[in-house]
């Protein structure tokens, strides 16, 4: 809304004047506009707003047993709060003798580990969340 036309604010001010409302707040990506009735006129205030974070749920691509660490290693693949790049192996799915790597679809921070170590999951089940 940074490139809003002035006539839109004018139009909204006029509509506001015709109501009982004292305050109209409009939120958009990155910005909030407040229109306050001030006597016969309207006060306009603009506030910048930090971008709302989006969360990606990483899901199982198949049935399997979730592994938080590789069978040969003891340390976990990721921890909550850890930064990962796209392609980072964040979990493993064991299916019989096979182990499939689950990779981060984008860069971000691991915000939540949903499926427990050695839990059996189905196709599409959430494994973890990346913000």
């Amino acid at each position: 809304m940074t490139a809003r036309p002035n006539d839109l604010v004018t139009q909204l001010s006029e509509w506001l004047a015709g109501t009982d409302l004292a305050l109209l707040e409009l939120s958009g990506p990155g910005e909030t506009i407040l229109l306050r009735r001030n006597g016969a006129g309207t006060e306009v205030e603009t506030r910048a707003v930090s971008v709302a974070t989006t969360s990606t749920v990483v899901r199982a691509g198949s049935v399997g047993v979730v592994l938080h660490s590789h069978p040969l290693r003891s340390e976990p693949l990721v921890r909550v709060g850890q930064s990962v790049v796209e392609g980072h192996t964040v979990a493993l799915l064991r299916i019989g003798l096979i182990v499939l790597a689950v990779q981060a679809p984008r860069a971000g921070t691991v915000s939540r580990i949903v499926a427990a170590h050695e839990a059996t999951v189905g196709y599409g089940d959430p494994l973890l969340e990346i913000e």
């Binding site: 790049v85 192996t89 003798l97």
Partner: protein, 330 residues
């Protein structure tokens, strides 16, 4: 194509070995861990016997000059591709220009020492006497019959397929087929011709004691060291006879030497036993400084072990075949 950026001593191209040439004094050579080699090939959809790079001194670095799939099996050596951590026992894809780095083998439940870098279609070097394995004494096979060094380039046998092989890996054989004795890595042994010529005390010591793999150990043979050297009832004069990898010889000092893949095809020392074929891969991974136990077995049990190993490999082949066309798991 890949280019060697850093290679330690005795990094060689090996396939599963050269057979049928002992009549000319040519031993088998071949991968010290034949199971890791087979798995790397299976993961890439190769025939199991294709050649790979055997790495036993780390770090090891290669640069991919074109996009390629590859597999790393054997020792978990903290592999990185341009800084991105790779899972062990898995297939990966490198883009042109990316550099693969293998570090020091990590500890784990079972200590390992050799890693295998496998390429689509295998490492493409000429076949010499039915095999691509490097024969160091005599200098033939592999890449010009010698260890790899910086600047060498190697090609894959086939171009990478367009569809990426997915993020495919395997539960390692150490986990799937464990064998330990009193907490140590163990291998099964069949007594050899001269077993009965050792004192009862020595026979018991052979099975009971842990044997340390000394620094004088390599692809030719493992010199072992134990608390109780083996004593023969009487000195023995042996004639030269054929031997195979796994034969455990006893020189005059009583400390055994296990013949490995690059051993001479004939020997003249007394033999106390031979590691069974089904367990040679375990022995091939045992690092210098580690200790092993010998477990006595029978002919039938030894063949059962071989059947079990081959059945597991067949299962792996089937399951990998099902998954090789699967999209990524996420």
């Amino acid at each position: 194509m890949i280019e060697i950026v850093t290679a330690g001593a005795l990094t060689t191209v090996q396939d599963r070995g050269r057979y049928g040439c002992m009549r000319w004094g040519v031993g088998s050579a071949g991968a010290m861990d034949g199971v890791a080699l087979a798995i790397g090939n299976i993961l890439l959809g190769n025939a199991e016997h294709r050649a790979a790079i055997e790495v036993q001194v780390f770090p090891f670095r290669v640069r991919f000059s074109s996009e390629s799939a590859f597999a790393i099996t054997g020792a978990d050596c903290a592999a990185h591709l341009d800084g991105l951590a790779l899972m062990p026992w898995s297939v990966h894809t490198a883009r042109a220009g990316q550099e693969l780095h293998l570090g020091t083998p990590q500890g784990g439940a079972v200590r390992t020492s050799r890693a295998y870098v496998c390429l689509p279609g295998g490492v493409d070097v000429p076949v010499v006497l039915h095999s691509r394995s490097t024969q160091l004494r005599g200098a033939f096979g592999g890449l010009e019959g010698r260890p790899l060094r910086q600047g060498d380039t190697l090609c894959a046998g086939t171009a990478s397929s367009a569809d990426k092989p997915g993020l495919l890996g395997l539960v390692p054989p150490d986990v799937a087929l464990p064998l330990r004795c009193d907490g140590l890595a163990a291998v099964r042994v069949l007594p050899a011709a001269e077993y009965d010529k050792y004192t009862a005390t020595s026979q018991a010591a052979f099975w009971r004691n842990a044997w340390k793999i000394t620094p004088q150990s390599d692809r030719y043979g493992y010199r072992l060291s134990g608390d109780e050297p083996l004593k023969a009832v009487a000195p023995m004069e042996m004639r030269s006879h054929g031997i195979v990898p796994g034969v455990i010889q006893v020189p005059p000092d009583g400390q055994p030497i296990v013949q490995m893949r690059d051993a001479q095809p004939t020997g003249g020392y007394p033999k106390v036993g031979t590691v069974i074929e089904a367990d040679l891969w375990r022995l091939g991974q045992a690092p210098i400084g580690s200790r092993i136990r010998f477990v006595e077995t029978t002919w039938d049990a030894a063949l059962d072990a071989l059947d079990e190993l081959q059945a597991w490999l067949a299962d792996v082949g089937r399951q990998v075949g099902l998954h090789r066309n699967t999209r990524s798991a996420a």
